[in-house]
């Protein structure tokens, strides 16, 4: 007989309590890693960035000022500084990657879903950019588009003339080339999400529609799009949230030369040059613009179509 029983202590209850404590301790320990990480790398970093936006290193040391904000608006007004071009390129990346890219991805997802001719071939083509690392992909892309690369060679043999287009380093083509790259590489992840969402649609819904003689266009626009609207709206909200911070593949292609500067890359470049206060202010300005924009987009998307549960 144990001592506990001899003393009449409820052994089972205590064991349960101790197990609860152990469980709570274990859960707390597991969560603490995530919480600490969140506090350090999100709360602290963002809070510090906000503070830095109002700081400036001067001869007297660190001072509190709005100087970084006025500097940005001043530089934006200087035509030679080309910050307006950076803003324009940033918006172009959004237009091509999202406004054009998302609907096109949806179209191709539907095409893959319907298993029309060559769909398996195109599945590989579209997914390829998602599998290969960006650095390798850019290197391949650069090779293909080099002055003496395969693309110019093909164009030369088709036209019968020497084609020596500088796709990446001639400002007449550079931004267009980068936009094409963004468009092409953006396909993969969007198509994965869209095809996943389409496959979740109950088959009987689509069969009913087919029995009613619904055309493919109507099936896509009036059945599939409303049923996968939560996926579409989530992607649109994410794209809007990243509108101003999306630098595009500028670092790997041109480092902002050849009229390809974007706001995201401009901020990156400033930080690379050990300038932190000014880019923090630019980030804050675009957060101030982007945050309400995201709220508005989310509200509008909720108004266009209601979420359907199935």
């Amino acid at each position: 007989m144990s001592d506990n029983l001899a003393q009449g202590i409820p052994v089972k209850k205590k064991t349960l309590q101790s197990r609860k404590i152990q469980r709570g301790f274990f859960i707390g320990l597991m969560l603490s890693v995530g919480i600490i990480q969140f506090l350090v790398f999100w709360v602290y970093v963002n809070f510090n960035s906000i503070l830095m936006a109002f700081q400036l290193q001067t001869r007297e040391g660190l001072i509190w000022t709005f100087e970084n904000f006025s500097r940005f608006f001043h530089e934006l007004s200087i035509a030679d500084f080309e910050l307006d071009l950076a803003l324009k390129n940033t918006l172009l990346l959004f237009v091509v990657g999202t406004v054009i890219g998302l609907p096109t991805s949806l179209l191709f997802s539907y095409y893959l879903y319907k298993k029309i001719l060559f769909s398996k071939f195109f599945r590989v083509i579209f997914f390829l950019p998602s599998i290969i690392s960006a650095a390798v992909l850019v290197a391949l892309f650069r090779y293909m588009l080099a002055v003496d690369g395969p693309v110019n060679a093909i164009l030369s043999s088709i036209s019968g003339k020497v084609v020596d287009i500088e796709w990446i380093t001639d400002e007449a083509y550079s931004m267009g080339t980068i936009l094409f790259y963004v468009f092409w590489t953006g396909f993969g992840s969007n198509i994965v999400l869209f095809t996943g969402a389409i496959h979740r649609i109950p088959q009987d819904v689509l069969e009913y529609a087919r029995l009613d003689g619904v055309s493919m266009t109507r099936e896509l626009l009036q059945i599939i799009v409303p049923l996968i609207w939560p996926t579409i709206s989530t992607l649109l909200v994410f794209a809007t949230a990243g509108l101003f911070t999306n630098s595009g593949p500028i670092l790997l292609f041109t480092q902002g030369q050849h009229k390809t500067m974007t706001i995201g890359y401009f901020i990156f470049d400033q930080v690379q040059n050990n300038s932190y206060y000014y880019p923090a202010a630019i980030g804050l300005i675009f957060t101030a613009i982007g945050f309400p924009l995201v709220i508005i987009v989310k509200w509008l998307l909720g108004k266009i179509l209601e979420d359907v549960e199935y």
Partner: protein, 531 residues
């Protein structure tokens, strides 16, 4: 299920431990007393010189523990270390470090003035010269803090690591291919350089590489390393405007006072116009693939003989050792003197160097030859003109001020670092560095050191340049207008090499400088606010 949970938890725990370890990537947060830890950037001068130096140091100091880590990511590691004041490394060898910024903002650099006031020492052998007297005098101020905070002034925070001259490099095989063996001459003036370019372009000679014929161009360059052009046109600015004007341009000061006009000395326009002429597409002086090329690609093409000239530093041969099978005969020559100098000398000294532009340039070239041959005068020009040309001829660009060693303030082995740096600047240390990096430390007695074995033509030519009377020039971020106010070497987003050399929408040198002046004027008030 319970077993599964246990296994899952175990995997999760291992993951957490692994991620926690990842937070200290081989970087212990503080150094180990008694073990000297060196991190050296692996770049153009290779990966072996720091290790070889450490090995030799250990021979003299058997009790010393020295660890050397040499890799291409040391620069990034150093930035983090100096910004956080957390590192186990005692000595970083990197390129590019803003002393002012790291002193004022992070207080992360150790004062190593003691090294400069010590003598070089290899084991028991001590030299009878102070290290500060052994380093080239124009480099010395670059190693000191030069801002306006009294607590850092007159102290040394960095020390030069190996780095030599940067200049025009000729592929003599390619030139022989174009003109026939020896039927060409080195350009001494910019007019001669352009004449050589015209002659090469006119010949339309070809070289066969792996069965494909390529036209041989005067120049090839890389859009990825446009800054190499600066090794040519920066000296042109300094040759025409003088060293004082060059230094005023770097600090944007005249008579010690910030002044916008200092940013654009009179020689800048001429230098940019020459750059424009070299890289303007319609002139056909540069291989058409240049802007598209990666830097190692363009260097490989140069070695293959697809171009006769290339601009870079003395690291080229070391850098390309293992990268290509093509072993061309290369020769570094002194930067040709800007031909505009003759007109300036004429007006400045009231003399005539010839009746026509060609005659003036010929006189200038003759004076240069006389200087290169060690003469102290030239028959048809005055001593003043001769000396002015001599000063211009000495001007050579280098990165020796930015290739440096720096000690973190948190180092626990400063005494060992100082001792190691004393060894590095001993004659034995310099010889080891020369053997391994194929470059010199910027010392006044560089010509006394000879590399072992047979020297390549390239190495011989570099040695000849360093042996001659030279005055190094460099860009610098020492002044607060650079490191605190953020004035870069160029204002705006487009480099001059891009603006002048691009295929579509290229602008002229004059337009570029006008734009530069407008931008400087617009931002001047902002710069002044923080100074």
């Amino acid at each position: 299920m319970k077993t599964f949970k246990k296994i899952f938890c175990l995997i999760l725990s291992l993951g957490l431990v692994a991620s926690a370890c990842a937070c200290t990537p081989g970087n212990k947060t503080e150094g180990k007393k008694g073990t000297l830890s060196i991190a050296s950037f692996e770049g153009g001068y290779g990966a072996t010189w720091a290790q070889a130096l450490a090995d030799a140091y250990k021979v003299h100091n058997p009790e010393a523990e020295v660890e050397v880590d040499c890799n291409p990511l040391v620069r990034e590691d150093a930035v983090t270390a100096f910004q956080t004041n957390i590192t186990s490394v005692d000595l970083y060898f990197i390129d590019g470090l803003s002393i002012g910024n790291y002193c004022e903002t992070y207080q992360s650099l150790a004062d190593i003035s003691e090294v400069y006031n010590s003598t070089p020492k290899a084991g028991s052998k001590e030299e009878d010269i102070l290290i500060k007297d052994k380093i080239r005098p124009e480099i010395i101020p670059e190693m000191m803090y030069s801002g306006d905070q009294a607590e850092y002034q007159n102290k040394y925070y960095t020390i030069p690591s190996p780095s030599g001259p940067c200049s025009l490099i000729l592929n003599t095989d390619a030139l022989d291919n174009v003109f026939g063996e020896g039927n060409w001459s080195e350009p001494r003036t910019t007019d001669e350089l352009f004449a050589l370019c015209d002659a090469i372009a006119e010949k339309k000679a070809q070289v066969n590489i792996a069965g494909v014929n390529y036209t041989i161009y005067p120049f090839i360059y890389s859009g990825e390393a446009l800054e190499y052009w600066r090794y040519l046109y920066y000296p042109w600015i300094a040759q025409y405007s003088g060293i004082d004007a060059w230094n005023e341009m770097i600090t944007v000061k005249k008579n010690g006072v910030y002044d916008q006009s200092a940013y654009q000395p009179d020689g800048k326009l001429q230098a940019y116009q020459k750059l424009e002429k070299l890289i303007k597409r319609s002139n056909g002086y540069c291989d058409g693939t240049s802007m598209n090329n990666k830097f190692n690609q363009s260097q490989k093409y140069f070695l293959q003989g697809r171009a006769c000239m290339y601009i870079t530093g003395d690291w080229l041969e070391r850098e390309m050792e293992g990268s290509t099978d093509y072993k061309a005969e290369l020769k570094m020559v002194k930067t040709p003197i800007t031909s505009d100098l003759s007109a300036k000398l004429e007006s400045e000294y009231g003399v005539s160097l010839g009746a026509t532009a060609a005659e003036k340039d010929q006189t200038l070239a003759n004076v240069i030859s006389a200087i290169d041959n060690g003469q102290t005068s030239y028959e048809s020009v005055s001593a003043q003109v001769f000396n002015a040309v001599k000063q211009a001829r000495a001007i050579t660009f280098t990165l020796a001020n930015s290739a440096i060693g720096a000690v973190p303030a948190v180092s626990v082995n400063k005494d060992m670092v100082i001792d190691f740096l004393r060894f590095m600047y001993s004659d034995e240390g310099i010889e080891i560095i020369l053997r391994e990096s194929k470059s010199y430390l910027p010392v006044v007695n560089a010509s006394e050191f000879k590399a072992e074995g047979e020297l390549s033509l390239f190495r011989e030519s570099v040695n000849q340049i360093t042996e001659r009377e030279i005055t190094y020039i460099f860009t610098s971020s020492r002044d607060p207008i650079r490191y605190r106010a953020g004035l870069d070497q160029f204002i705006g987003n487009e480099y001059p090499e891009t603006a002048l050399g691009k295929k579509t929408g290229a602008i002229t040198a004059k337009e570029y400088l006008e734009k530069e002046a407008r931008l400087l004027n617009e931002k001047w008030a902002e710069y002044m606010k923080v100074l």
